[in-house]
């Protein structure tokens, strides 16, 4: 390619100044970028309004494309079900999967029963679903694992709500816009979910790895052995996720920190349930009237 001698601007003051300010602006762009980056690293939710405004435009397009892809994908599926073996295979697999979830749930219930009998009084709440929606897109080019939910504040989705797939925990709502919300998947490297083993209630943390799997790390106890096939469900600690939701299954034996596969791989989930936080944050304390009111005043 021939060189472009655009730096020789001739005698035109206008060209000289516009070329000069073009480069000044280019450097200023880098400086502004560094400032924005520092702001968003130290305060991650800072620009969520702008992000969610854009997402409110992209989410309807993505859900349209999503339903289109589903329609196209259903054609070979419909042909496949004509072949008897295929359909039967799928049904048996589905049944197996259903029983799997049932088994883990039964184990949780047995453990819960044992535990609850020992307690006199337990505050228990059943999580109530907010709505069912679709995961329509994701951040496929960034290492962060966010998905886009096609429901937002208008439908009652607010940050902090857990998101469940049919097989298990998918993630939680991080930011919500008018008609779209961003979901932090449990496989994101910044995601931490408190879990416990179904077998004996051993507490652990499921931390995302970023490659579609999670790390199960033991909490408190040292030299804990994990066996392949160990099932982990959410423990309800922290009050965000309801206890007993299947999270992940251990792949290989190990101790203290092992790799596990999530029950609800996000690329296989289309419909998800958004629930209310299990134990929502207590409302903020009312502001004090003044320095004259001391905490000891009501005791008198």
């Amino acid at each position: 390619m021939a060189p472009a001698r655009d730096r020789r601007t001739g005698f035109s003051r206008r060209r000289q100044y516009s070329a000069f300010f073009g480069y000044v602006l280019a450097v200023a762009g880098a400086v502004v970028g560094a400032a924005l980056l520092a702001a968003s690293i130290f305060n991650p939710p800072a620009f969520s309004t702008a992000r969610m405004a854009v997402a409110s435009v992209t989410a309807p397009v993505a859900s349209l494309l999503d339903s289109g892809t589903d329609a196209i994908a259903s054609v070979p599926q419909a042909i496949g079900t004509w072949i008897n073996v295929h359909g039967e295979n799928a049904a048996l697999r589905a049944e197996l999967k259903r029983h799997d979830a049932l088994l883990s749930k039964a184990r949780v219930i047995a453990y819960d029963n044992r535990r609850l009998r020992g307690l006199l009084r337990v505050r228990d709440r059943t999580p109530e679903p907010v709505l069912t929606a679709r995961l329509v897109a994701s951040t496929a080019s960034s290492g962060r694992r966010f998905a886009l939910l096609n429901a937002g504040r208008v439908q009652g989705v607010t940050p902090g709500m857990p998101v469940l797939g049919p097989e298990g925990l998918v993630g939680r709502v991080l930011e919500s816009g008018p008609i779209a919300a961003r979901v932090l998947l449990i496989t994101d490297p910044e995601s931490l979910v408190p879990v416990r083993r179904t077998r004996d209630g051993l507490p652990a943390i499921a931390a995302g790895r970023g490659d579609g799997r999670v790390d199960i790390r033991s909490v408190g106890a040292a030299n804990v052995r994990f066996a392949p096939g160990d099932m982990f469900v959410s423990s309800g600690i922290g009050g965000l996720y309801a206890p007993g939701v299947p999270v992940a299954r251990v792949e290989r034996a190990g101790s203290d920190s092992v790799v596990a596969t999530p029950y609800a791989p996000p690329d296989a989930v289309d419909f998800v349930i958004v629930e209310r936080p299990f134990m929502p944050m207590p409302p903020p304390l009312p502001p004090r009237a003044g320095p004259a009111v001391s905490p000891a005043a009501p005791a008198r």
Partner: protein, 174 residues
Amino acid sequence: MSRNTIDYRPFELPLPPGRARALPWISVIAASAVTAILPVVASLALMPPLGLLLLLTWRLLARFALRPWAAAPLGLFDDLVSGQPLGSSVLLWSLCFIAIDLIEQRLVFRDFWQDWLIATGAIAFCLTVGRWIALPLGAHVDPVLLAQIVITVMLFPLAVRAVAWIDRRRGDAA
């Protein structure tokens, strides 16, 4: 560019200047938005950053199509849809533009292979530093990141064809 090819429709009117100047911007923004509207919930970050790819291609192939400061606003839009912390693309894309300008002063006669080499460096720089900014060091994403860099670099010739096609349609107006 259009002078080297046979003009089959010599009396066709070129695009109005405003639209011809907007086309590169629109194409980069559209490429960024593809990532956000693609109906796939991916487990792995294998999708190439198409906005960055098209931006670099425009810069290397038709350098007057975008202003020297265009990287910052285009990067801002990419940040809003890509999931990276806001400001990372603004910074990295601007640095790429400045670096390409510095290279251009020293390497005035470039051919396609040198363009590809420059684009490779810029893509690897943006993706690697972007990963370092967005993710904790312990995240297990590095083999996937390498694959993503290779995929993006291999898409550069295709992007060049696409940009050359758009640039031919733009005509000499801009």
